[in-house]
Amino acid sequence: MGNSTTADEICLRCKGARMLCGKTHCPLLIKSSILKSIAPLDMYKKIQRDKIIFGASPPGVFVGRFGYPQVNIGPMIPINEDLIEKAVLLNPTVTTKDTSVLDISEFWYGKSQEEIITYRSSLARSNFKLNVYSPSKSTGFKTLEEVEEKLTLNERRLLDASQELAMSKISIDTESKITRLMPQLTMDPHSPPLGPIFTPETIRIVDNIKVNPRVDYAVNDSDLNATDAIFDYLYKPNLTLLNEDYHSHKLVLGTEMVRLLSSGLLGTKERRKIVPTRWAIAAVDDITSKRLAKEIRHYPEINQFYTFHGKYLDNNFVILLIPGPWSYEMMECWAANSIWTQTVPGVQNADSFRIPKIIQDHEMETGRKKYASNITGAYYAARKEIVEFLYLNHKQARVVLFREIKGGYLVPLGVWVIRETVRNILKDGFGSDSMNKHETLDDALIRIRENFSVPLKYWLQASKFLKIIRTQRTLNEWMK
């Protein structure tokens, strides 16, 4: 059934990804890409003259999704030394060469939009095209092995460099001879913003990489499927560690798993593939939380209602915990005049945003098999943190996540905003300052009224999940 399919909310459903307005580029994202001017021009000039980029890769690898199965893949190298120094200053516990903050979104919570855009616009990504399409195969796509067979020596080196960087635990000096550098900043609702693009001729990793033993194991075991590799080897053993433990070299962060998965380093040998970063982000969030959710189903249910509240970058969250077996709904409302609800000339959005538009996806006790196509990546990002919170607190609950986005969220920065904000709201567990206890559901729902500008009645109308649990009786009533 899904949401209505009329043309009147296309920006909200598309969010710059599906090109539902028929234009070749999203007009709203083009508008926001003016922000690219944040990186100084002199530097571009210098690089364009020398045709060389040298810097410590965070490490970072990006795989683009436009034109799939013709994918753009390549390492990322910082181009602005001043900015890097600034980044290092912000993270004083690390050595001078550490540029990890430029790519690891787990470190960004609490930073301003400008800071994040500064990080990203000083990180150039290289692009070289690889065709992963295979018309002869039933799946239509080549595995990494088949892609590698057809590569030229130079392409092979570029791919090897990308994969080597994807495995590295530490920032690593990397040098690239380039043919051109294009200043730009691309926004995407799923992945963090992307900086300038360069076309590499050669890429040389100057230093030796350092690999986390778990990563080493997962990459070298070509009989291990990607789901098991991510969950059992990379994610689960680190569950109790904090993001800050990254520098102790024990923890494998989500961003690192995304790099490994997207550069075709995980999975059984015959199934390894190059995966666009955006898809890999959703895949990692989905894999980790789906498996962990199976485990919390044996945990005791909470016996009171709880709400948690928090906000970041004009993204407002209320997390509602209801006694019952694990199940989950996320609702999202882009308030009037936020990014996806502004009036765009030539796009049929006009006038339709006077009534708040709330989109939702949910799953009942048995989980979901179809992609959460209304909320998309944010659904899985938030679910990951919520399940993790319940797991660590040894509880299960029905959870409803409300997210209201206001105009202060200037550009979409990626699903990490949702993931990290939810993580932060829940980090102190039950009993944190952001938490309230309630006796009844109606009492708990008052928290929405207190914190959101969109009236509660619209949220209740939009929620499919709350409707089910408010009306569905259980057999317990007859089995006392």
Partner: protein, 262 residues
């Protein structure tokens, strides 16, 4: 220790397929009189109670009661590998923690052996006895096809269906933004049997679970379902399968959606 044989592989497959729609793991009771299983879905909305009588097996050897925990999804995956002419054997020895499933072709020349590791399952506490005590004022036996069609109709409009029964008819009603639908089965319809109605009963039920129940129709020769309704009570649906065996469901109703003001 037990060893049971059923020549009709489709029947046993259909039975567990229906169970798997409601629950993913449960404890199964193998006893000298047959196999039984009672379990409830994670949301505690639908209870399934299965009784396979030993008469319906082609060979049945079980000297004492054994309770074994199984992942039903895995069991179904294995049973789906059987072909129409296979006979299925369940074997269990006290000393092992595995259930062995043999698939034997009708000529008896080819045997496939599968084993499935038993699981320790913490069963949610349920008291099916109190459900069985409910006395229903209205019940009727109707062809499964009738129920199937009524549910498909309702699915166009909503995720729930209102089931109403009085001394004249059984009615399935559904309404939504699109409009509404009604399916009226008159008591004079010769396809309806055992029509008993002593008051007006009405209840709203989730289509999802009614659809799960209909999976029983993949068991060969199951044509009728007996539906019992009473206002403010769970819906009871029972299917007689194979001969002496049965599958019963209890489904909790939904309450009318009060549009409260906020």
């Amino acid at each position: 220790m037990f060893e049971l044989t059923m020549n009709d592989s489709r029947a046993i497959q259909g039975v567990f397929d229906a169970v798997a729609a409601i629950i993913d793991e449960t404890e199964i009771n193998f006893n000298p009189n047959g196999i039984s299983l009672t379990s409830i879905d994670a949301g505690r909305v639908c209870l399934i109670s299965l009784n396979l009588d030993k008469e319906d097996f082609d060979a049945y050897k079980c000297d004492k009661e054994e309770k074994i925990g199984l992942n039903i999804e895995d069991l179904v995956k294995i049973l789906k590998r059987s072909s129409v002419n296979d006979s299925i054997v369940f074997q269990y020895a006290d000393t092992s923690n595995k259930l062995v499933i043999l698939m034997q072709s009708s000529e008896g020349k080819k045997i496939r052996k599968f084993s499935i590791t038993l699981k320790d399952i913490s069963m949610p506490p349920i008291k099916p006895e109190s459900l069985e005590k409910i006395s229903y004022n209205n019940s009727v036996s109707l062809p499964i096809g009738y129920l199937q069609e009524a549910i498909k109709d309702a699915d166009i409009y909503n995720d729930t269906v209102i089931i109403r029964m009085n001394d004249q008819s059984l009615v399935f009603r559904s309404e939504g933004n699109v409009g509404d639908t009604e399916c009226i089965m008159d008591k004079e319809d010769t396809m309806l049997t055992n029509f008993v109605a002593s008051d007006d009963a009405e209840g709203t039920f989730a289509l999802k679970f009614l659809n799960h129940m209909l999976k029983v129709s993949s068991v060969p020769n199951v044509t009728q379902v007996e539906v019992s309704v009473s206002t403010d009570q769970p819906l009871k649906a029972s299917f007689n399968i194979m001969g002496a065996s049965s599958i019963k469901y209890y489904l909790a109703p939904r309450i009318e959606d009060e549009d409260e003001e906020y």
